[in-house]
Every structure is written in structure tokens, then in C-alpha cells.
């Protein structure tokens, strides 16, 4: 585990919430999507993913339901709640602000 992924780790809730806000998704789909979009530069551990699901669900930011059949079983899909959308837009604002501040010191070297 390198330093970069530790920084990302603190924002996994937001990353996963963002993916669920685009459309309802299930666990493996999300981990695949993260790998694809980062072109393999970042991979989420499944154990982390399910911990994030539990946490988001407890805060009522996402809901789950059983959807279409995969290999002989039901897939558990997640969808974002109105509270989740509000939370996400808050987080995005915070991140922009934090990024601006950090950039002041990280750029131009």
C-alpha cells in the first residue's frame, strides 16, 4: 500500500457514492468500474468496499434491493437516497476547497 492510495482511502465513501449516484450498481460492478476508470492505477479491495457499503447504509445515504439474477443467485443493488445526493454535493464542494488550498502549496515547485 503506497502513500497515494492512503490519500484516496479517505475519500472512498465519496467515490463510491458518486458511482452509485450515476445509476444503481452492485458490488463487483463498482470495483470493476473503479479499476476501469483509473485504468488500473487504483484498485479497491473488496473487503473495503463492503465496509463502505455498511457505513453508507447505516448513515442512510444509500439503499439496497435485490435485482436481476446472476449466476444462480440474486444480485444486491445499491441506490442513492436524497440524503446521499445532498451529502455528495456537500463533499464535492469541500473537496474543491481543500484541493485549492493544498494546490497553493504543492504547485510551482
Amino acid at each position: 500500500m503506497n502513500i497515494r492510495s492512503d490519500i484516496i482511502r479517505g475519500h472512498l465513501d465519496a467515490i463510491i457514492l458518486r458511482l452509485i449516484s450515476e445509476k444503481d450498481r452492485y458490488g463487483y460492478e463498482i470495483s470493476k468500474e473503479i479499476t476501469d476508470r483509473t485504468e488500473g492505477r487504483f484498485q479497491i479491495k473488496e473487503a473495503t468496499l463492503y465496509a463502505v457499503f455498511q457505513r453508507l447504509h447505516r448513515k442512510e445515504l444509500i439503499e439496497s434491493y435485490f435485482g436481476s439474477v446472476s449466476h444462480g443467485g440474486k444480485r444486491k443493488y445499491y441506490s442513492i437516497t436524497p440524503l446521499g445526493r445532498a451529502y455528495l454535493s456537500e463533499i464535492v464542494k469541500e473537496w474543491q476547497e481543500a484541493k485549492n488550498i493544498i494546490d497553493l502549496f504543492m504547485e510551482g515547485l
Partner: protein, 133 residues
């Protein structure tokens, strides 16, 4: 695929049983199966694919922590209800003794003895409750 199922069982072996745990186990198993299927389609043989999926799954402690966090507040409430129930229950039993004592044998006061016996119940519940606060 049996190996995969066994692995998921082992991951959760020291988590106390609950509906939540079963649903989560099922979800993880489904998703891992799909991952293995994908890896096989990419040209891995089944053994390799399963091993890769298991290794990439990571450390389950994070999930356990989230499961425990959701459990604790429920327990706290329970001890409070237990205490309340024990107080009301023992009051009822004691009043029965008092009634029987004064109705049938008013010359002989004996209800104090069973009262002390019954009072163990709320006192035990009280200390349980205090411990969880």
C-alpha cells in the same frame, strides 16, 4: 467454486450469527463468483482465478468493525428494558406475597422472606444496566 464458498465461511467464522451476516456473506459470495467467472474468461484456469479473487479480497477486519458498530446501540437499550421489566415483575410478585400474607395469615408476617429472594432479580439487572452505560 466450493473453495470460494469455504473461504467466505472461514472469513466470517468468528462473527456472531445474524440475518445481517447471512445476507452479507451471500452478497460477497455472489460478487466473488462473478469476478472468478470474469477472470476465467480472461484466460485464467479456475484454480488461479479463485486464488486471485481471494487474495484481492483483502482484510475482513474493516467489515467486522462496521458490523459491530451497528450492533452496540441495540444492546444498550435491551439492558434498560430488562431492568424495567424486572422492577415491574418483582413488584407484582411481591404484592402477591403481601396480599396472601395479610389475607390468609394476618397474625404471622412472612412476606419479607420471599421478598428478599425476588429482589435479586432487579438488583442483578440493575448492575447489568449500569455496566453498559
Amino acid at each position: 467454486m466450493k473453495k470460494l464458498k469455504k473461504h467466505v465461511d472461514k472469513l466470517f467464522s468468528d462473527v456472531p450469527d445474524s440475518d445481517e451476516k447471512e445476507v452479507l456473506k451471500q452478497e460477497i459470495y455472489e460478487n466473488l463468483q462473478e469476478k472468478v467467472q470474469d477472470l476465467i474468461e480472461q484466460g485464467k484456469d479456475e484454480e488461479d482465478a479463485i486464488n486471485k479473487a481471494i487474495v484481492e479480497f483483502g482484510d475482513i477486519d474493516e467489515i467486522k468493525m462496521e458490523l459491530v458498530v451497528t450492533k452496540n446501540p441495540l444492546r444498550k437499550n435491551n439492558t434498560k428494558y430488562n431492568l424495567g421489566f424486572s422492577i415491574w415483575g418483582s413488584l407484582l410478585i411481591i404484592s402477591l406475597f403481601v396480599f396472601a400474607n395479610f389475607y390468609y395469615t394476618p397474625d404471622n408476617i412472612w412476606f419479607v422472606y420471599p421478598t428478599f429472594v425476588v429482589l435479586w432479580w432487579p438488583s442483578v439487572m440493575f448492575y447489568y444496566w449500569r455496566k453498559t452505560r
